[in-house]
């Protein structure tokens, strides 16, 4: 390490320093004298309520005494002409290290969050509040900026009653279909990813490759690829090989023949049709569940085996029970994620191109409200079934 060069004060500066230091010493000494006098007075009264004050003052006196000894050492240095110049940073460090650790933590906590708070105050909060406010207004862009006129919940009424784009795309219908799909997909995605995570957790033949393949959907831009493939050549190849449809249809026919209910079958068929989408949507969830399963302590499994539990029991009573908090996280992530790729975004774009900013704000605020509602439902469904380590009731 490089050694810092020591720089010393010149004679003129030294005398200035001496005056300054002596002044402080005098001040501190007089302060201490008054404090001690106060303490004596209070002691003489011998009252219980003064004890705190006395302790505080005694503390102050002690601190001042420490400072005094330091200053006296400084005077000695000045006498010897060997007082070092301190940079601003050094002085700051000395000052900061005198603050108690708990207060330091408090200060750094605020400093660490400052960048995020800036973003919050500059970008997120004003825009979010404005968006909510606009949804109750008619907002029209003019040459001199935006004209905003309050019109109550008229936007909401129009949106849910009669907003149609492209001739036949009704907002409420699309919204209903989207939520229906989401409510079907959510449990399927969760169950699917738990299953895959338990499979991937233990090593088997080729598990490294399979693991790597299962996270390709996370990095691969699924919308881009499926868009380009399903329109052109991909369709052409699929049609000529008949790869995807044949097997599924035969299977469905078989189940119909043996008399499994139509309605159940249609749900299953829907899921099978969307298997590609489901596999592609559950990359992160699988990631979450693998991490969750790996964090379960091994002792639990050992104990269960010793008690004679079967594999089935172990899976339900230990694995599933221990990952419940993460099921919640994964569910929330699924809901949020599905909203960012919802087909109803088209309505938003359309309202923007129509220059109806108020209506656009209404659409986005309704999304938010529905989002919160669904997440609330998930919370309610999971409530009481979630297990935490530090849960002591």
């Amino acid at each position: 390490m490089k050694k810092l060069k020591k720089t010393y004060y010149g004679t003129e500066a030294l005398s200035k320093q001496r005056i300054k230091t002596e002044k402080t010493i005098l001040r501190l000494k007089s302060n201490n004298a008054t404090f001690e006098q106060d303490i004596q007075n209070m002691m003489a009264k011998n009252e219980q309520k003064h004890i705190r004050k006395i302790v505080k003052l005694a503390d102050q006196v002690q601190k001042n005494k420490i400072r005094l000894t330091r200053l006296e050492a400084r005077i000695h240095q000045i006498d010897a002409g060997s007082l070092e110049k301190e940079s601003l940073y050094q002085r700051y460090r000395l000052w900061f290290s005198n603050i108690p650790y708990r207060k330091q933590k408090y200060i750094w906590g605020i400093v660490f969050t400052v960048p995020w708070m800036l973003g919050m105050a500059l970008f997120f909060l004003p825009s979010f509040i404005k968006s909510i406010w606009w949804s109750f207004n008619q907002v029209v862009p003019t040459s001199s900026g935006l004209t905003i006129t309050f019109n109550g919940i008229a936007n909401y009424i129009e949106l849910f009653r009669s907003y149609v784009i492209d001739g036949n795309n009704v907002f409420s219908v699309q919204l209903y279909l989207f939520i229906q799909n989401l409510l079907i997909d959510l449990p399927i995605i969760l169950i699917f990813s738990i299953l895959i995570a338990t499979f991937l957790n233990k090593p088997f033949k080729g598990h490294k490759w399979i693991k790597a393949i299962f996270f390709i959907p996370v990095i691969y831009n699924f919308t881009l690829i499926s868009d380009t493939l399903s329109k052109g050549f991909g369709q052409y190849i699929d049609a000529s090989t008949g790869a995807d449809q044949m097997f599924v249809q035969q299977l469905a026919g078989f189940f119909m023949d043996i008399g499994i209910g139509n309605s159940l079958m249609s749900i299953v068929m829907n899921a099978v049709d969307r298997i590609f989408m489901i596999v592609n949507l559950s990359g992160i969830q699988i990631l979450i569940f693998i991490a969750a399963i790996q964090s379960i302590p091994n002792q639990l499994y050992e104990a269960a085996k010793m008690e004679g539990a079967t594999k089935y029991e172990i899976f339900w009573k230990i694995t599933i029970a221990m990952i419940t908090p993460l099921i919640l996280t994964a569910a929330v992530f699924t809901v949020v994620d599905s909203f960012t790729r919802a087909p109803i975004y088209r309505f938003l774009d359309y309202a923007m191109t129509q220059n109806r900013y108020g209506l656009a704000a209404t659409i986005s605020v309704s999304y938010f409200a529905i989002n919160v509602t669904i997440i609330g439902l998930v919370f309610l469904a999971m409530k009481g079934r979630v297990f935490y380590y530090d849960d002591r009731k």
């Binding site: 997120f124 991937l200 380009t228 190849i237 592609n280």
Partner: protein, 347 residues
Amino acid sequence: MTANKTQFLNQSFQKLKQASIKVYDKKLSTSYKRTMTFESILAWFALMVKYFLLYGLAFIILYPLIQQIAIALRAPEDINNPLVLWIPETFSWMNFRISAIVLDYWNALKNSIMLSGIVTLLQLLCTALAGYAFARLKFKGQKILFGLVLTTIIVAPSTIELPLKITLMNFLGTGQSLLGTPMILYIFAATGMGIKSGIFIYLFRQFFRGIPEELEEAAHVDGANPIQVFFRVMLPNARGAMVLVGILTFVWQWNDAYFTANFVSKINSDFATLTTKMMSIRNAIQGAIQQAGVWQLFDQDVTQNPLFTSMVLNTSAMLSMIPLLIFYLLVQKVLFTEGIERSGLVG
């Protein structure tokens, strides 16, 4: 003859009987043995299901990739050849060349790498700091702030898009517009407003809560202040979470069409990443190919075929994804050993 036959049959019957008795003794004679046998059959069956499921699903995931490769390597002259389905008759790099011109590949690639790299670094720093503060450095009102973090997770970016754009057009009343330069994305990343920053803050918080507090206390006793504790003790220990968040940020930024398009590319058409370029040529591929000046190279029956444009589009999509795929293959080992196994997803 018949006697011989009966004898032979008897013999084989006896053999079979012996073998079955053996099996019975070994596997089924007591109730314990029966359960064990049943369990082993069940385990075998489960294993088969597992292999079938995993390998089958891996195929489903790889299917579009294989399709893309097969399409990309096909020569444009082969489009109308009905015999070519998967493996092209004549291999050619023509599609790649056309796509590279259409995408303005090297320029867009440079933009993509720069944007994703810088955003990843800034976002990592911001979210790690905030996450650590929320986990360990308590101050007043922190719970409310954390509630706001959760709100940012739930609020879709499109909800705040329009007011945000209007704010940015005249930023802080200086009359300066921040839209149209990648700078705005860096600012978003550094202030924790980037893509899914809320989730990353949450993840870091969970992770830091999982590191024992004694570690910090030991560092403090040795004379470290909080910032030293963070950079010298906590961050090196948070490698798993850092790897996970870093990879996810990089990938999501690369694939992002929403932020990049809305705040930069739609306003300033000079700046395009691979993804935004891809999105913009998707609807106007015919014109893009014409502009690129490769139209004249082929016959009428090639250029008039809608499959030709689809082929170019496919190859473009693949080209825009290849760097990311290579990046993933390079880091996937680290992701699995460091990122998942030791990540802070669980508190």
